[in-house]
Symmetry: D4
Subunit: 256 residues, 8 copies
């Protein structure tokens, strides 16, 4: 058997080749196992880039920048771009961007959102993702959500500083709230924004607690707990400061 | 001005009546304020039934049974049914059901799911909601999600006892997983099911941590935290044991 | 010196008596120390009833019923009533009430609020204390606050089931909110009610988290934390389910 | 209809104009919705300054400095001052002050209290706010409370280093304690000051836990919990280190 | 193709049959997928009994009794026994045992250990598993470990009440400690037993924190944390009260 | 060698016997190891009663009743009494007492303190142990401390219901406080009593947090943390509700 | 009356003066109140130095350096030294020492212990305080305890690196352990040292948890909890890293 | 008797010498006690190097670098190497390495693993230790485990970046998993890797939670809890980021 014979790239093809006498059953069996592994990831030694993810999940592997060296990020980025996939690196910084630029010259960096990205054409989501943020201090997380959603092929509507301490600012925007396909509600402190929006709209609400606050906000735990206990229905929650995660599920909804 | 004049049931109608001279501006103003309140809820003394919710959120107020007396539940139920709305009472029991039956004779009780319901025709959701549960002990929560979703007008696919300790049981069902519009992943203990499913599918995954476990499972906290930290994308989380909450956002997705 | 001579009931009187030669300096000194202690509490062996509290704090000692036997409660109650003070026992039950009745026949019991009380004329507070409760399940705590406030000489306005899931129910009542001297906001789950009210009114808001909820509500911790992190100003918080405590500070405000 | 016609600045005026034939009902309706939003906040893009708050809550929006850039703070400050409102920025620093000075030249900075402010005449509160602090290390929080209260129009009495380890220092000051309209009790470590003061006075006590301490003080959690569990009545609590929050509710009490 | 043809029970056999012309490639593919699933678990509706586990992990599926009805347990037990596997049900009770007896008449119940079991011949582990328990109150957990280990084919040495408050009781048994292949250290309260044993022996130590204690033992959290922070090497930890889990890894060590 | 030869009951005797030729070195070695173990504890199978403790620690093993069966307690009690030691069983109940009576007919039971004891003459401690309790609900813990201390040979002074909400009740007793050799301060809720006493006296203060309280008292955690963070010096803390533990260290101080 | 007349420095003297006609009763009363306050503390504005503490507690106020400026520390130090008291500043650093030197030239600084001190003759404690530390990393805390104890007039015996991972190192030192009047046990990680020592000696053991460790040691919480749950008797606990606190209570024991 | 006579280096030799008349019983007794202590550790003042550990536990004392000065580490390292033992310093850095080099010139430093080591021949373990890591960010912990295991005499197989978000990467490596004698599973975030591996293999799995993650990963607590609650059997857990600890127990298993 010719290793990595491109004609034998599916289970069906293997069985066909065996029937046609072109392939030995034992070789076919070994090949069947190789196939599953070979096509699906690329081993860089320190990382196994999951190229199969674009097929399986509709968007390629996203690089979690935290805890990786600039060089590691750059090499993973290059491997992703080489396959023609969208590049999205989160929780990263300018040093990593410099390293990425040497291998992916047309990458872009969003400082506030801490994102490096390079977009390719992806299927567009149905409807708008509205990103509502309670306060100015929540903007980094809100922008991480907004840019991630855009890279994933979505129309994004930004509605910032609509916290419940001045609830008329939110009530004045009900039309935009109702127009969205999904609402991402970003808030720190007591996180009441998610409940209030959840009570106003019929669309799914993805709540993102932020670490904005002090004292008994415990780095976002209070907002997280409050959002999990929302008395309004239609609200689900992602990790603290996880703007990207909210964008990912919101995009899964618009691409359903 | 005739109080509660049914011809004056919108802001537009009020302005029209003022212009036509049929209504005094001061009366109109008072009436405008009454309107907002009057149509929208019904004050039972101990409860303000939010009838407006069906319009605003696509499904009427759901009754949270815990902490209410059977009589309170029965009277709220009657008020909801009288308006022609679907009835859904969660976290309830047989005693409440007995009380409800005296006022809503055709209500039904689901013991394992702890739900009282009475269905009316509601718009059907697009696509199937798959409810995956890790173990047999998670069934009460999974059933709460399943029945709630059905009452809200959804097709539900149940896939139980597919925990990751025997991961081949889950891998054997990938086709059903991919066929769903939304997956609800119900698991206690370490809650790994949500991550594994999240890594397999492109549809949104709503994770429900359950209080199944002991010791350091802390009544579901471990599963909750694990699901919030899922390394897979497209996962959002609801409160511990909150099967209904998962159904609500899943239904918001299928009705988008 | 005549022990417990009622003419020698103040430090000034003692000095006067010494000057007048009616009292020996050494006796005066001993008496000065006795005086501080003697007039101020009554030792029942298992309890030291703090009769001085009515003078010092404007309301007599309130009996915390939890962890005391019916007989202990009854004997403390009798000691308080004998002095002509208002009686207020919180976190108590029917068994204690039976015991109290044998010694204070005209005491009253409020089952939902778990309060035994007997009112005497006390100075009236200035303005109304509005008790707002988010849901029907919060009523026991709200009633503990309401009845406590009434016994302390306040006008109370009850506004129940105005949780933020249907925020129009609250917005329809802004006039009553603005009319209050203090607002007590009672809520479980995510406790957003306190923030929303705090953002609407200029009066002080005393927030009472309740243990209503399940899962990650952690018996009221979530509501407690949320209220402590309110993005609205003018909000302070008491212990979980502490309706009485909210009434006490609210009454201190109306009696200022 | 003339957009933003200043004669049409209330709901009553609109109805009157419709009656007078000066305004078309449809325009009136649109205008009614605009009015609610337009007069009440100012959209700076990254922030919606809530100018309506001065009317609604008796004091304009206070700027929470943490997490905002100096430029953002300066622009919000300018917008507030331009309306003739009092400026109060908390949790800020010298860099922000430099930026503010370029737009609000007569602003003042209090380093220990981390406050930028510019005072205008506001209604005076009734009675004194006493700020009691347990130790020298608590002064930054105590000063945040004191200066905030002053800017809001209050007389402030400072009583520092009166912790219960040397309780005679506090007992020697009972007269000042009794003379206050509200007491703000600031303490870290075990936070016993709030309970002891709560047992001595009849005025409301607002307790502020501070992060002073180490080990099992957990950044103020111990003091927070202790204060929430005060065995004395008339005590309510704000967030850890939240001197401003204590001043806000204290001022709401003196302005009642 | 004959469904479930017993000659086609492996991937190798399928390829052989295709080569021999006995099987169509498309049927072979479908059959290949069925095989993986079919042989490996048995769907009881409410449970998928993982029969493959005996092959994969050396011991069949163990039934976690908590949260399952007696009937569910009995039916799962029957399915396991029918395959000729060892039966081990943990965290169960007399009611479940009664139900099991109707289907597995020779099952045995260990009340203190809360175990139902029926042994079949399994490979014997190499060396002894020593179960050390700190106090008499830890016996239920220690017995769960001991009996589980025995059912899994191990020699067990029980050493009870050797807590560090009287350390000479432990030091007197060093010979038995050194003779073991694995030591399971069971302790509540401060859990110091694991560290002291870990410092004495060169064999692996599996530490089991128990919920024995009160107050700040927090149901076993203190012992769990102490064991995780053991200053001695060679110690790993399982969940609180998880005697079975300790036996399982100990048995994996003796069967290596 | 004669096993258990009573002449060979010390290491010195063994060496002497070897020198005298009465004992073989190898036997001597084995005997040396037996001796250490044999004299010091008694193995009841489920318990190893630590008789050596009376020598080593000045008081025999105390039986922790929780989690032991009445029969186990009775048999341990009998073994202790047979040696002529004081019997002290804590956290026990009437059922255990009945069992103990059948073997130790003159044992006594203290219901409120949950203690079974039988006293023998023990060395008297120097000075008094004062047990101060904040409230009536703390009495069970305070009595556990008081009776334990008495059984251990101490004079005990009880001072109950002196919580800081009415601090004059405590200040009136300073003379008794100063007269004690050790003060045990028992309090729940915010536990401020320990700090206030710590600030008043120069004697060591052993603080006992109790689980009295509700909500954010978290079963005594708040009092525990407050006591650990006492701003007063000379305070150390034992476990929540651990009256016995406080008595033990207090008695170690008076017996120093 | 001459203010601050040194002849009128006690309550007895005042009464005597009134009797002798040298003092007016009203003046006497005022003076009585002044006396309590005047002699007892010195108000530096930012601090009230508690000079009365030396009388009341046997040792003057100790300065908690953390959170105080070098200048504040120096001025408090000077006030203490001026009265002839021992100076002890904890949790301080070289910068504060430089400031102190300008006012107290013969002060000394202990860098590892973070202490500034200046000793005067104080009464010697009875017996030795033994400071046992589990590991080399615990030395800063152990030294804080040792030096504090020395300044307070105690003989100190240091026994370092005797953690239970090599328990023979501790068992080899039993004689020194038994010889001590008090043992201070300093340990991080799982803190088992306190239990093992507690089981070996009859003297009181003061346990000091340290923040040494990582991961689930949680900055000393694990050691703290373990020590609170010690299965050995005669152990009480102070705050994490609180070497000074342990010295203070140990010294109270030796000075009893 | 000649002190430290090398002929008298065991208990047996002592008895023999007494029998032979070469040694006086009293001297023998003293010597017996010295022996236990003398041979077993070396007192450097700040540390007691436990040389006995190599005999007792099969591997010499490992130096925990955190919290020790470079000089302390170097001196301990020298003492270990001088005895001919393997050197292993964990949680250390380049500064310590420089200090060690001056005393142990052929030591090696592994920066990513933060380890200093110098290997000597030690017995080889039976079978391979497989180190599986979920992501690239987990490599420092995985390398600490890998190098520690190698120094302890083990064959190590590294399998990195096999997290469950792309589970096919892991499933493709089942053969290597089954071939190992022990698997060490290293993962942060939700830590599901341990459960999935635990469900696949029959070998013992040592799970190492890492602090990789953010928000509600709480520095590794989530992964820790998830691993403790693994629904798969045969899994035990070590402290967060404790790669060395996992290696130590794994090596204890391979050396059994």
């Amino acid at each position: 058997m010719t290793p990595r014979d491109t004609d034998l790239d599916s289970l069906a093809a293997l069985f066909e080749a065996v029937r046609a006498g072109r392939l030995d059953p034992a070789d076919a069996e070994r090949r069947a196992r190789e196939l599953a592994a070979a096509a699906s990831f690329e081993d860089l030694g320190f990382a196994r880039v999951d190229h199969h993810r674009a097929v399986r999940q509709g968007f390629p592997e996203v690089v979690f920048g935290q805890g990786k060296t600039p060089d590691q990020i750059a090499r993973i980025a290059e491997a992703i771009v080489r396959r023609g996939h969208s590049l999205l690196v989160t929780r990263t910084d300018a040093a990593a961007f410099d390293a990425v630029l040497t291998r992916v010259p047309d990458a872009r960096f969003h400082q506030q959102a801490r994102i490096i990205e390079r977009r390719v054409d992806v299927p567009r989501g149905q409807g708008t993702i509205l990103i509502a943020a309670a306060g100015t201090s929540d903007l980094p997380v809100a922008e991480e959500a907004a840019i991630s959603a855009e890279v994933m092929g979505n129309d994004v509507d930004r509605m910032f500083d609509v916290g419940v301490a001045g609830i008329h600012r939110l009530l004045a925007e009900q039309q935009r709230l109702h127009a969205a396909r999904v609402v991402v509600a970003v808030a720190g402190m007591e996180g009441a924004l998610a409940s209030v929006i959840g009570g106003l709209v019929r669309t799914p609400v993805i709540a993102v607690p932020t670490s904005v606050g002090y004292g008994a906000s415990f780095g976002g735990i209070t907002a997280l707990l409050a959002m999990l206990n929302s008395c309004a229905t239609g609200v689900a929650v992602v990790n603290i400061d996880n703007g990207f995660g909210a964008a990912a599920i919101a995009s899964a909804i618009t691409h359903g």
